[in-house]
């Protein structure tokens, strides 16, 4: 089975096909940014991007990612550790408290801004509606996403190139 995870291609055995995708990422690859919090796809803490669409993976299997481009929170920053502008905006806006929802929230926002860099606050609210946060009241998260949107608007070509580079 071929998997593309955070820009790296890897071959994994068929015996892993039925393993829960979230456990595969966390246990086999050490990518613990996706969290277990409800196990029924109701909270969004396990969200990753598959082909740039957010997916809650606590009930998905490894085979669901076969041949598709997977982006986890660990793949967002540059290889030298420089934060992606969206991550930087989360930090600067005070959008992070306990941080448990943060990986899923950042990835859901990333998918939205790739699709719609002109998203209004109302559209942002709708996009992140499946990602629960108990700490922030979402206000500064929405501020952060709006702040970062500028980057997606300004450099659509470069941005797409970056994402393509990360995922291929």
């Amino acid at each position: 089975m071929k998997l593309h995870i955070n820009g790296k291609e890897m071959e994994v055995g068929r015996e892993l096909a039925e393993k829960r995708l979230v456990e595969f990422l966390r246990e086999d690859l050490g990518l613990t940014g996706a969290k277990n919090a409800c196990d029924i796809g109701a909270c969004g803490a396990c969200t990753i991007l598959i082909d740039n669409e957010p997916l809650k993976i606590c009930m998905k299997r490894v085979k669901d990612a076969e041949g598709r481009r997977v982006l986890t929170i660990e793949g967002m920053a540059a290889p030298d550790g420089t934060l992606h502008p969206l991550q930087q905006a989360f930090v600067e806006s005070g959008a992070i408290q306990c941080g448990f929802c943060t990986p899923g929230m950042v990835l859901t926002a990333h998918a939205l801004l790739l699709r719609n860099p002109l998203a209004t606050r109302e559209e942002i609210r709708k996009a992140i509606n499946g990602n629960l946060c108990r700490c922030t009241g979402y206000q500064q998260i929405i501020d952060a996403i709006q702040k970062a949107a500028f980057h997606y608007q300004r450099q659509p070509c470069e941005q797409k190139h970056e994402i393509a580079a990360a995922a291929n």
Partner: protein
């Protein structure tokens, strides 16, 4: 401001936004065993036997533990030791744990947990707190002699006289619901036996020191035999105290007995089933008011459902009692408060700690009274609210700090253009389908623990020979940013860049027990200790270097990473200064202790200086109510709180918004539902916390009146922000519909119950 202090900086932000932060379940250990709790389906029953053989024989199971295996105390608790590590004599609620299966994998532990059988004789379940108080009701705890767990009272002035002087008497009953904390990270613990015999505890808990107490008592070992280590934690909100500590204690027990690392990671359903909730209250109010709109007397009866065990019910209900009349001057006040055992889910600490329930009721009472007196709610509040030098209902004079009630009220009225909007409210009449309303609520709140308990906190600043600094305190990082706030206080006090300072990994073996990181006390108590430690360190450095700086020790200044004499010409860099300290055999090390000023309390009269200082807040909200469906839509909200001093404004705002969101859930969405003592909504598809579309744009107004009693000037914000949103919503709904709502969550007539969320398919 240094570069790193820029907006939003936190010491853990990079780790959290990159997914690198390692929470308890993310840590790796070799040779790890996994544990799972076992529940029974009883609500109240006498245990006859717990049959574990089938589970023990299941392939991969290492051991099944029950109360018999506890070498130390099986009973624990912060006030009354009635909480069980494992149920022994009886099952007292549906979340009681009878056994724990330890296995080679979590799946095996969970599968085998279903094979444990409990034989028990059912007893009548006590599910209504007022019935529980009746003399002939079955007792939840026979040895307590009554289902009334605790009482508090206030006797001030003469309420009979006060009611005689009143032109109007208002009597109302209010009711609130069970509420789940809904921290995103469920309870989890990993316990690791060390070669020297010490058990290390990694866990999601907001009280490392009480976790250590619970664990050492359960294992029957000294406090020094347990080391609780701080790891990033996915939210607490008051909810990761008793239950989280017991999860750690059980896991530690398995690690000790089996001499292997053990992890117990809770499923959400276990977490909601077992963990304590916010107390449901029944509140009976009687208020006397003169024709001029002056409150003459208040009588209050509060019944709090404590559920099956004590937890911190006596402390929660004490705060409710002290604050039962809201921020108003009432010369004649009487209050009788009861915490009552039932067989419902345990209740305990949750953000607000007994105030959100009271404010929901009281802030509607004042508006009802205003209506009777023909005054606006604002004018009525102004005629009765506390001001500089006022006496509270417990006889405490509010002075020594700025009483900012008027200031926060003015700020919100101005921000919202409140009084103009009030005239546009629908009061049930509208040409369109949407009814419009605006409403507000205000409160005052005693800071920190008050007469609930011992209140002091330690900090250690340990500067190194190269000028770098290590800070640690007895305050725990729950996700709120405590470490970052304390680092900022330290950097500012020492006049150095924050990049020099690292927060040392917290451990109960490093620093004295400084109490719980609860009661919105982290910044005021921890910040006080850091400030005092920094002052002590500066004193040591000044004494050592003043000669070199050609001035007296008291003239030495700390600024811009330098230590300066009388003028800027006499100057030593902080790096060189620390090296000089070491060369002259002086450690640049300081230990600071902030002790809360004395508080007093007379349990018989309910009089005393209950808290050493107070904070003041006001919140308002605009909304519409759909005439046909009853659906409430929030349009806009604003809050003003006196925080003393905002150490980190962006994080303070985060506390405002998060508190307002949680208050919105309390007001409109959330309710743990019990059927015959069993919770029916055990996950986020059926227990609905506010989502992004449920919330309005929110505005935070930071009022700063540094408190002379607080060494850093800071006071509190975590809980104040959470305690007045529900009554603001209730008042706005009244202004929209003309209908009062006396119970929570508010369901406007016509509104369908919120449907379960759709979840993604398998």
């Amino acid at each position: 401001m240094t570069k790193l202090e820029s907006k939003g900086w936190r010491n853990d932000a990079y780790a959290k936004v990159t997914g690198k932060a390692k929470y308890t379940d993310d840590l790796k250990f070799s040779n790890l065993l996994h544990a799972a709790p076992v529940y029974s389906d009883f609500v109240h029953a006498k245990i006859e036997s717990i049959i574990t053989e089938d589970a023990e024989n299941y392939s991969g199971v290492v051991r099944v533990l029950t109360a018999r295996d506890v070498p130390g105390a099986n009973h624990c608790g912060q006030i009354v030791q009635d909480y069980r590590i494992f149920a022994d004599d009886k099952i007292r609620y549906h979340g009681d744990v009878v056994a724990m299966v330890v296995a080679e994998s979590r799946d095996i532990a969970i599968r085998a947990s279903r094979l444990v059988r409990v034989e028990a004789t059912p007893l009548p379940a006590v599910l209504d707190p007022e019935q529980a108080m009746e003399p002939n009701t079955v007792l939840v705890h026979t040895n307590h002699g009554s289902n009334i767990l605790n009482t508090h009272r206030i006797r001030r002035g003469n309420v009979e006289q006060g009611f005689r002087e009143a032109a109007f008497i208002i009597e109302e009953k209010f009711q609130t619901q069970f509420v789940e904390h809904a921290y995103m990270e469920p309870e989890v613990a990993v316990c690791v036996p060390r070669a020297d015999g010490v058990i290390e505890v990694y866990g999601s808990m907001q009280h490392p020191f009480s976790t250590r107490r619970f664990t050492s008592a359960c294992l029957g070992v000294a406090l020094s035999e347990i080391e609780v280590v701080g790891v990033p934690m996915g939210g607490g909100f008051g909810g990761k105290d008793d239950t989280a500590a017991i999860v750690c204690a059980r896991t530690a027990l398995a690690a000790k007995l089996l001499n292997r690392p053990v992890k117990m990671m809770y499923r959400r359903e276990w977490s909601i089933r077992e963990s304590y909730k916010r107390h449901p209250y029944r509140i009976y109010y009687k208020m006397g008011v003169t024709r001029e709109g002056k409150i003459t007397a208040m009588q209050c009866r509060i019944i709090a459902d404590a559920g099956a065990y004590c937890s911190v019910t006596p402390w929660v209900t004490w705060r409710s009692t002290v604050q039962c009349c809201g921020p108003y001057q009432v010369e004649n006040a009487q209050c009788d408060t009861y915490g009552v055992y039932t067989n419902n889910v345990v209740t305990g600490a949750m953000r607000g700690f007994g105030s959100p329930q009271m404010n929901f009721a009281m802030e509607q009472m004042v508006e009802i009274a205003a209506g009777k007196a023909g005054l606006s709610g604002i004018e009525f509040r102004r005629r009765n609210m506390v001001r500089q030098g006022s006496l509270t209902i417990t006889g405490q004079r509010l002075d020594g700090h700025k009483v900012a009630m008027e200031q926060v009220l003015e700020a919100v009225l101005g921000e919202m253009d409140y009084e103009a909007k009030l005239t546009r409210c629908s009061f049930g009449k509208s040409d369109s389908n949407e009814l419009y309303g605006i409403g507000l609520a205000m409160s005052y709140r005693g800071v920190s623990l008050g007469a609930e308990g011992v209140d002091f906190c330690a900090a250690i600043i340990n500067a190194q020979a190269d000028g770098s600094i290590l800070l640690e305190t007895g305050i725990h990082e729950n996700g709120q940013g405590a470490e970052s706030a304390l680092l900022l206080i330290c950097a500012r006090e020492l006049g150095v860049d924050i990049s020099r300072i690292r927060y040392r990994r917290a451990s109960t073996s490093n620093i004295p027990d400084s109490g719980t990181t609860v009661a919105s006390r982290g910044t005021i108590m921890g910040g006080g200790a850091v400030t005092l430690a920094a002052q002590e360190l500066k004193h040591k450095i000044a004494g050592a270097l003043c000669e070199k700086l050609q001035c007296r020790a008291e003239d030495v200044r700390f600024k811009d990473n330098c230590i300066l004499g009388k003028t800027d010409r006499e100057k030593i860099s902080f790096d060189d200064a620390m090296q000089a300290m070491f060369q002259s055999q002086r450690f640049p090390y300081a230990f600071g202790v902030f002790k809360a000023p004395r508080v007093t309390w007379d349990e018989h009269t309910g009089q005393g200086n209950a808290y050493f200082t107070w904070v003041y807040g006001c919140q308002a909200v605009e909304l519409t109510v759909n005439k046909k469906t009853g659906k409430v839509k929030l349009l806009n909200a604003a809050a003003a709180h006196d925080v003393g001093k905002a150490i980190h404004p962006e994080m303070v705002k985060g506390q405002f918004f998060g508190g307002m969101a949680m208050g919105t859930g309390f007001g409109l969405h959330e309710e743990i539902k019990l059927k015959d003592g069993k919770i029916t909504n055990l996950n986020f598809n059926t227990y609905r916390i506010p989502r992004a579309v449920d919330l309005p744009e929110m505005k935070a107004i930071l009022i700063e009146n540094p408190d002379p009693i607080s060494p850093s000037g800071a006071k509190s914000i975590g809980e104040p922000a959470n305690e007045i949103m529900a009554p603001a919503i209730a008042n706005a709904i009244y202004h929209a519909t003309g209908q009062r709502h006396f119970s929570l969550p508010i369901r406007v007539a016509g509104a369908a119950e919120e449907a379960p969320e759709e979840v993604c398919g398998p």
